[in-house]
């Protein structure tokens, strides 16, 4: 039964989650996924890292540089959390409990951006020599 499930998973990745829940879950211990999934993600992480290095190597500047850096960063982080850390296969109760709180950090970022702009302005006004 478990072997059939593994075979099915390897053949039809799109049905993977469904098959995993329906057949494999009661028979397989822990998080059990085909090795191919890990190898593919590993390959993508290499490609994305190479891409972000090339952003620096070719001296891209301005908004193009920043958006590419953020894009590659988010893709890499997503792959690591979803596949390597198995979050894609965990129940939503756990995924939300862990993934939603860090969103609050973005509010903190916004607050500190305002704060830094203000500090910078004051420094320019009172000490001169703007950057």
């Amino acid at each position: 039964m478990a072997n059939v499930a593994v075979h099915l998973e390897a053949q039809q990745p799109s049905l993977h989650a469904h098959v995993h829940d329906a057949i494999a879950a009661p028979h397989v211990e822990g998080q059990q996924h085909p090795i191919k999934v890990y190898l593919v993600v590993w390959g993508w992480l290499f490609v994305l890292s190479a891409c972000s290095y090339l952003v620096d190597y070719f001296h891209l500047q301005g908004y193009l540089r920043w958006s590419l850096i953020l894009l590659f960063m988010v893709l890499k982080a997503g792959l690591i959390v979803a596949v390597f850390m198995h979050m894609a296969w965990e129940r939503l109760a756990l995924a939300y409990a862990i993934l939603l709180p860090p969103v609050a950090v973005l509010v903190f970022v916004a607050i500190m951006v305002f704060e830094s702009e203000y500090t910078h302005l004051i420094r320019v006004l009172f000490f001169g020599s703007p950057a």
């Binding site: 397989v28 211990e29 822990g30 998080q31 059990q32 996924h33 090795i35 890990y38 190898l39 993600v41 590993w42 992480l45 290499f46 890292s49 972000s52 290095y53 952003v55 620096d56 190597y57 001296h59 540089r65 920043w66 850096i69 953020l70 590659f72 960063m73 890499k76 982080a77 690591i80 959390v81 596949v83 390597f84 850390m85 198995h86 965990e90 129940r91 109760a93 756990l94 409990a97 862990i98 709180p101 860090p102 950090v105 903190f108 970022v109 500190m112 951006v113 704060e115 830094s116 702009e117 500090t119 910078h120 420094r123 320019v124 000490f127 020599s129 703007p130 950057a131």
Partner: protein
Amino acid sequence: MAETALTTHGLSPARPDGWEGIAADWSSDQRAFKNVSWGKAMMWIFLLSDTFIFSCFLLSYMTARMSTTVPWPNPSEVFALEIAGHHIPLILIAIMTFVLISSSGTMAMAVNFGYRRDRVKTAVLMLVTAALGATFVGMQAFEWTKLIMEGVRPWENPWGAAQFGSSFFMITGFHGTHVTIGVIFLIIIARKVWRGDFDVGRRGFFTSRKGNYEVVEITGLYWHFVDLVWVFIFAFFYLW
């Protein structure tokens, strides 16, 4: 109606009071994470708290960099190396990134073989992961040495804003510490796997509980998190 009034909302009538009651209620088999063991849930919660720690470091770095009127040193040049007569920007950091990603890959494979109860492959892959992690820390030590010799201090550096040094040592230092702890953690668990502790149900020295192969996945969660943090450090500190 009388029957409805008798319903006790599922509470058993005789529950202990006082401190005993607190302990009894909190340990009464109520759980939010239905199919996740306490070990895995606690590792995730620890990683969440660690996320906030690293977020605070990166935020303080952002604040320092945005608010200074002195130009920020160019990381691309600061971390460049001369290799065989060629001046290659940021090359050491790129190599460190690939080393850490490779270690994440071997860790993921170790978790997989652990659940397949392949003791030898699991232990070997975990030791490979630990070796790659140690390589990473070694390269970081080289990087620190190079920068310190060039005159980078937490309070000054030859190229620009003084906060560059403090941000650099704080962020990479904390990350390197995490990698080092991860390497130690990996070696300890790899030894248990190698010895077959999880096949024969040998009790651990600390908790006296029988372990199982899930601890490989929990170790893996920590290790992937270290890699995850590096993704953000690489993007914000080295590339930005």
